[in-house]
């Protein structure tokens, strides 16, 4: 019994349920938003430390032995992703207090935020492929509702694209799960991996691999499936944008990493080229899209797409070092991208617009905010000694070792283009003087997203920004230690036998009676499989 595996899912669910109970009480919901997310962060640190000590932690839900029940499993990758969820969850909990308008709070902003975190955590921890689908849907439904809170025209238009394409991806995913069950007769991912190795290599496996690639590719916003993202991410309240930017697409990337290292490791050679060029095109189209934009959040949205390319590049190169680099890119990107969105929220609060042309002069007004932006933006572009540099450095080295010179060249060139976009924001928002016609008294601009005046509680916005900027800096300084964790992830993912053993072998401990029952069921199912045509 290892409670730390289940708690990252249970705690946000509990916080969400409590928030729902106190539907009418705004202060209580706000308190739960912070307290619940502090608890989530503590539990995620606990899980991380435990996984660092033990390697794998599994829990069989309801004590049903492994291939029959639902398994929760945390390997190093899951633990790192959960840790990032905890960090971003707390940052958003605090930031939301200052930026969420009363109208949004009244219509369930906080319960939805908790449910979203629960869905994300569940997706990271589950060891069952259908359960992964369920957690995706939990996450999606919460994100749908968050996306349209406020109900402005742009939000509706963005939401229709977001909802349609994500539902389409879900159905492709579900179809693939159904066909996979028809092929191997199990839903437990470790068991699927085992039987996939034994099964004769038929065309069905390739079809399934491509279906999973497309389904998760849409969710991860990879080329050419990313169009829903820049059309919708800049429309909701800024705290929602930041939460989506930090976590949602990364769940898609995580699923790609999980499925293609565990289940389809045999088919990878066939898909490697597609994925590699998909990654390159994702990087390039994202960064070029950003170059054409002059709206703060829209530039950042396109950069999410571009950065997803780096992560998928790590998977496509398919060596332990490249996987480590890809996961490093995920970790770095979650922190930095969330922080940039948070900063865009503060500048919006200060100047009342997201249009770069209408902004300016913030370097003189708020030098520390400028420093925080400078750190995050340059980290995104990959300037040493910040976190982005090391992520890119590892990826480039892995690319050179794998002799993928063209892709590596593109990765470096896209870094320069990223720098161009970031410098554009820096010049327009912080460096140039505020355009004359836009000079407004600062007191009139402190308006929430629903247009009501809020108390100038800027420290709630500054604290998460400062902490996240500091983390990006610290990841750069302690890159060695973090790289060791990443290499552990790379080794674990590239040799899935440890994962399979942790899921299927670990269940024999205290449940001998149940195990007998399990063997019996295995026999029955075996008989049935023989009997079936």
């Amino acid at each position: 019994m290892r409670p730390e595996v289940a708690l990252p899912v249970l705690l946000p669910l509990l916080s969400g349920a409590l928030s729902l109970l106190f539907w009418r009480s705004r202060p209580v919901q706000r308190f739960i938003a912070v307290a619940g997310n502090v608890a989530l962060l503590l539990v995620s640190v606990w899980l991380f430390v435990a996984v660092l000590a033990d390697g794998y932690i599994t829990m069989q839900m309801g004590s049903w032995p492994a291939p029959f029940g639902i398994t929760l499993i945390a390997d190093m990758l899951s633990a790192v992703m959960i840790l990032m969820t905890g960090i971003i969850g707390l940052a958003m909990g605090i930031y939301s207090l200052a930026t969420t308008g009363r109208g949004h709070e009244k219509f369930g902003y906080y319960p939805l935020m908790h449910l979203l975190l629960a869905g994300v955590a569940g997706a990271f921890l589950t060891g069952d492929i259908f359960n992964l689908y369920v957690w995706f849907e939990v996450m999606l439904v919460a994100s749908f509702a968050l996306l349209i809170l406020g109900g402005e025209r742009a939000q509706m238009e963005g939401a229709i694209k977001y909802v349609t394409l994500n539902l389409l991806a879900s159905v492709i995913f579900l179809t693939a799960v159904g066909l996979l069950y028809g092929t191997v007769g199990t839903l437990n991912m470790a068991d699927i991996a085992l039987r996939m190795d034994e099964a004769e290599h038929s065309g069905m496996v390739e079809v399934l691999a491509v279906m999973f690639m497309v389904a998760f590719g849409i969710k991860a916003a990879a080329f050419p499936l990313f169009f829903w993202l820049p059309a919708s991410y800049h429309t909701p309240p800024v705290a929602v944008s930041a939460l989506f930017a930090g976590l949602l697409t990364k769940v898609g990337v995580y699923s790609l990493f999980r499925v293609f290292t565990l289940i389809f490791d045999q088919t990878m050679g066939y898909l490697q080229d597609i994925m590699l060029w998909g990654a390159v095109l994702t990087m390039v189209t994202g960064v070029l899209g950003a170059a054409a934009q002059y709206e703060f959040r829209r530039i950042l949205s396109f950069h999410i797409v571009s950065q997803i390319g780096y992560m998928i590049l790590g998977l496509a190169l398919y060596t332990p070092l490249a996987i480590a680099g890809g996961v490093f890119a995920i970790v770095h990107n979650i922190i930095v991208k969330t922080n940039l969105f948070l900063i865009s929220g503060i500048t919006h609060r200060l100047q009342g617009t997201y249009q770069l042309k209408k902004m300016g002069g913030l370097y003189r007004e708020r030098p520390w905010l400028a420093v925080a932006f400078f750190i995050s933006a340059f980290s995104l572009a990959g300037i040493p000694p910040l976190s982005g540099f090391f992520a890119k450095f590892v990826l480039v080295r892995a690319g050179l070792e794998a002799e993928a010179y063209v892709a590596t060249g593109f990765a470096l060139a896209v870094g320069l283009m990223t720098l161009y976009s970031m410098v554009k924001i820096w010049n327009d928002v912080f460096w140039k003087a505020l355009p004359e016609e836009n000079k407004v008294p600062a007191s009139q601009t402190s308006v929430g997203d629903d247009g009501r005046l809020l108390k100038p509680s800027l420290w709630m916005m500054y604290t998460p920004v400062a902490v996240l900027a500091m983390m990006s800096l610290l990841i750069g300084v302690f890159a060695e230690a973090i790289m060791q964790v990443m290499m552990l992830i790379g080794d674990q993912l590239m040799s899935p036998s440890g994962y399979i053993e942790a899921v299927l072998g670990g269940s024999a401990s205290a449940e001998d009676a149940l195990l007998d029952r399990g063997e019996l069921q295995a026999e029955i199912i075996g008989d049935r499989a023989e009997g079936a045509p």
Partner: protein, 115 residues
């Protein structure tokens, strides 16, 4: 039975994709509905269809006699139906709100956020 089901599922997928490619948002949601139903039927069929053999173990025995239907896909389909129902309810509300705000049942009029 399986070939018939396969045909029905294929038709459902085709109809769903045809509907989703129309410009009307109402037809878009009908397409989504058909698509999720097609996926549900597919899961139901992939495990093989067994008639008149519920997965029950007779009293005093440790395993069922002979071949029985696989209960797992049915449990999975049940979950998937509930999820699809919830999500579609949301989608219907969403298109109603979108129709009220944009005042058009036309996806081509909803391109403001694209560029």
């Amino acid at each position: 039975m399986e070939p018939l089901m396969a045909l029905a599922i294929g038709l459902l997928y085709a109809a769903a994709i045809f509907m989703m490619l129309r410009r009307s948002i109402v037809k878009l949601v009908i397409g989504l509905l058909l698509l999720s139903n097609a996926a549900n039927l597919l899961i139901f069929t992939t495990a093989g269809m067994t008639r008149g053999a519920p997965p029950l173990i007779p009293e005093g025995m440790l395993q069922p006699l002979g071949e029985v239907a696989d209960p797992l896909p049915q449990a999975v389909v049940l979950t998937a139906i509930v999820i699809a129902f919830g999500v579609l309810a949301f989608a219907v509300v969403l298109i109603r709100r979108a129709y009220e705000i944009v005042k058009a049942d036309d996806l081509d009029k909803m391109k403001d956020t694209d560029t």
